[in-house]
């Protein structure tokens, strides 16, 4: 691609020079990577408060593991979307010029689906982690509050579900990756 450095006159030229399948693969990586970062962040925020509070109230540790599991679910959402997206990508063999536009459209769809889902899950994981930490600390002091505070955590984890729903709708645009003409 030695002549590609020459003239970039508009957005189209800029995006055109990037291979469609690299857009798609970056999207898949972001969907998985950011979701897992969010889940991990939530787990460590909840986990530190949980073990700290359990020093004086050891009874809380098994009940409050459910907060950790809510954070883990965020990572599972990312894995599901990444698997769905990588299933939509097909190996084109030698990409034909006529298929380049279709592949680019599908590549953009997968890229932005990945960003949507990944960053949604990132913030959802942090939210669930912070509320889970508060829940653990409150449970250690007043056991009757646990179930009510769990309701707030459920509101938080709904954000990850919004991301998954929009991701699945958005990834519908990626159905037209060209297949290899054997």
């Amino acid at each position: 691609m030695a002549d590609m450095g020459a003239n970039v006159a508009n957005w189209s030229d800029l995006f055109y020079g990037i291979y469609p399948y690299s857009w798609a693969n970056l999207g898949i990586a972001f969907a998985l990577g950011f979701s897992i970062v969010g889940a991990a962040w939530g787990i460590f925020v909840t986990g530190t408060s949980l073990v700290g509070a359990a020093v004086k109230a050891p009874r809380i540790k098994s009940k409050n593991l459910v907060s950790i599991i809510f954070c883990e679910a965020v990572a599972i959402y990312g894995v599901i979307i990444a698997i769905i997206l990588s299933g939509k990508m097909k190996n084109p063999g030698q990409l034909q010029a006529a298929d380049y536009d279709k592949a680019l459209f599908a590549g953009f769809a997968v890229f932005w689906t990945g960003i949507s889902v990944g960053l949604s899950n990132l913030v959802c994981g942090v939210c669930v982690g912070v509320t889970g930490a508060g829940c653990a600390l409150a449970d250690a002091q007043t056991p009757s509050t646990f179930v009510k505070l769990l309701v707030i955590e459920i509101f938080g984890s709904a954000l990850g579900l919004f991301g998954v729903i929009v991701g699945i709708i958005q990834a519908g645009g990626a159905s037209n990756f060209p297949v290899a003409n054997a």
């Binding site: 055109y16 932005w112 912070v130 509320t131 930490a133 508060g134 009510k148 929009v166």
Partner: protein, 160 residues
């Protein structure tokens, strides 16, 4: 060369911006919603220790923050239905969808920040003084309206 041969009438850049609009509506709205939920959630957990009977009543900021995530999802789903690769998607449409997504997303982000901070302070104050509740609700409604403005403008832009 592949690029030179295919470049004749190709302009697919509008799809990039269309999808970017979908992503920004969702991501920023979720960021605001998550901040609102977490910040007020911490306040509720703190005050719930001493006044457990007030917890469910104090969940109002959390519900209002959750609605912001729904605004983002509404705009994303509406935009996602409009992006089709059948030759009718113009650059104009791509950029207006980008703008719609950013409008909704950033407004919901701002509303979520406000709801979070006010919710946190409000529920803690409500635990100490029952009469604060109505004032907190009024302030939260004004904050929620910010997200609604973003949703309205986004719907106008996406339908043009």
């Amino acid at each position: 060369m592949l690029i030179a041969a295919a470049q004749a009438d190709a302009d697919t850049s509008m799809f990039f911006f269309g999808f970017m609009g979908i992503a920004s509506a969702l991501v920023f709205a979720n960021l605001g919603s998550s901040y609102g939920t977490a910040k007020s959630g911490v306040g509720i957990c703190s005050m719930g220790v001493l006044k457990p009977e007030l917890i469910l009543k104090s969940a109002v900021p959390v519900v209002m923050a959750g609605i912001l995530g729904i605004y983002g999802m509404i705009v994303s789903v509406i935009l996602a239905q409009k992006i089709k690769n059948d030759g009718t998607y113009t650059s104009y449409a791509g950029f207006s969808h980008l703008s719609a997504g950013l409008c909704c997303g950033l407004s919901s982000l701002a509303a979520g920040l406000a709801i979070g901070v006010v919710g946190d302070a409000g529920v803690r104050a409500n635990a100490q003084q029952e009469r604060v509740f109505v004032g907190m609700i009024l302030i939260l409604i004004f904050a929620e309206a910010l997200g609604l403005y973003g949703l309205i403008v986004a719907l106008i832009l996406s339908s043009s």
